[in-house]
Symmetry: C2
Subunit: 249 residues, 2 copies
């Protein structure tokens, strides 16, 4: 864990949970759509199950049980499993398509846009997400409508598992990003709120920044204590603190 960050040229960001608050965004849209068709659902539970289905289904892809596909398609597969269980069969095809695209409209954490604007002045900032490219660019542009600054997520580059044909935490994803950046792995810092993502990045030589997002899974499941403080190069509470740690005013 070196404190010398002078070689770093680019920051790559996990997106779901790290940059955007997927849970509040999905719950809100589920509540609206269920109310519209006069069905009562536990939107928190639905959102959590939808999100939890995603590592499971990605694992089926990795194991060869399911062909490679975009997260849009995988989200839809999970949605179709959940719809009958929550009594939402009345949703039309158009409504299902629209609901599935809620993942394109996730809302940034309050510090995300301002922090990214600061970090962008010194570094190349890129997504490095299992989300597909179209999802990530829609999300970036949608943020312009919901963030008080009026800025979207100001990515320099949108890197996605889709470009590499592998999902994180496969090493191909991190190595592919470094190759496209024309940088050595230790010139790139992975930023994420998930330790597994950071460990995979570190294993191929990336620097690492852990960002604490304790309410990613809701207030009731907020992490009871902070991380221990020495596994990653940087551990911070938000992107503004990250910018400060990297010497940006």
């Amino acid at each position: 864990m070196s404190n010398d960050f002078s070689d770093i040229r680019a920051l790559t960001f996990d997106v779901f949970g790290t940059v955007v608050d997927w849970r509040s965004s999905v719950i809100r849209e589920l509540e609206v759509i269920a109310t519209n068709i006069h069905v009562e659902i536990d939107a928190e539970e639905f959102a959590d199950e939808w999100r939890s289905g995603y590592p499971r289904i990605m694992q089926e892809v990795r194991d060869g049980l399911r062909p490679w596909d975009t997260i849009d398609v995988l989200h839809r597969v999970i949605l179709e499993e959940l719809i009958p269980r929550y009594g939402l069969e009345r949703l039309s095809e158009d409504e299902r398509t629209s609901l599935n695209r809620v993942w394109h409209r996730l809302i940034p954490w309050p510090d995300s846009v301002e922090g990214l604007m600061k970090l962008k002045t010194k570094y190349v900032i890129a997504t490095l997400s299992n989300g597909n490219v179209a999802l990530l660019v829609d999300m970036a542009k949608h943020a312009a409508h919901v963030d008080p600054s009026g800025n979207g997520l100001p990515w320099d580059l949108v890197f996605s598992a889709e470009l590499f044909g592998h999902f994180k935490p496969a090493p191909e994803v991190y190595l592919g990003a470094a190759r496209l950046l024309d940088l050595a792995p230790d010139q790139v810092m992975m930023v994420a709120t998930h330790a597994g993502d950071l460990r995979a990045a570190a294993s191929i030589g990336f620097r690492t920044a852990y960002v604490d997002r304790p309410i990613e899974w809701g207030i009731s499941r907020a992490a009871a204590e902070k991380r221990s403080g020495d596994e990653f190069d940087i551990e911070v509470d938000d992107f503004l603190e990250l910018a400060a740690m990297l010497g940006i005013e």
Copy 2:
């Protein structure tokens, strides 16, 4: 040639010549570096030969005479051919590396940043260039230092031949961009100052916008007359006119 542009969701841009004035940028840096080592060169001719070498060497890649490589590498190959012819052998390895990266520092045409900012409010805007990803992102960020607005080139996405393993005008490049955008080809408009690029895009279903850049190859070779006006969906003089044609104030 339909005038109905309501289906268009994304604009993809050729970069060298269309967005940036490669010739002035390269001439200026060549003049500085030659003066520094006390050599007189015809910087205009050098710049033109450097640029002209690039379609030739890309053709060698297409013909299988040379393995796939990035434009950075191909630019360096041509540079090494030109150095002895112009008496610049005194340039050190570091100076050659830096000079070769002039293509990362090309300066936008005066309307480019303002026009892209407008277009970005309504469309996804993406590069679609034979330049490699690292070159394109460096160029976008460098523009923040040279454009009066202080904005860089505000790309939503950086698409490069490097992502697809083919150079334009191969159809794989345009089809690959549409696939990553999750759009049908006719929802995408290619913007370029080179008719061949637009014809290749049109052949797989893209809409097309021709932007006149008459001094791309210098004042003395400025095109004597404008284009005839009916081959492409839109023909304009700059990006501000393009924005107006697409209904953006």
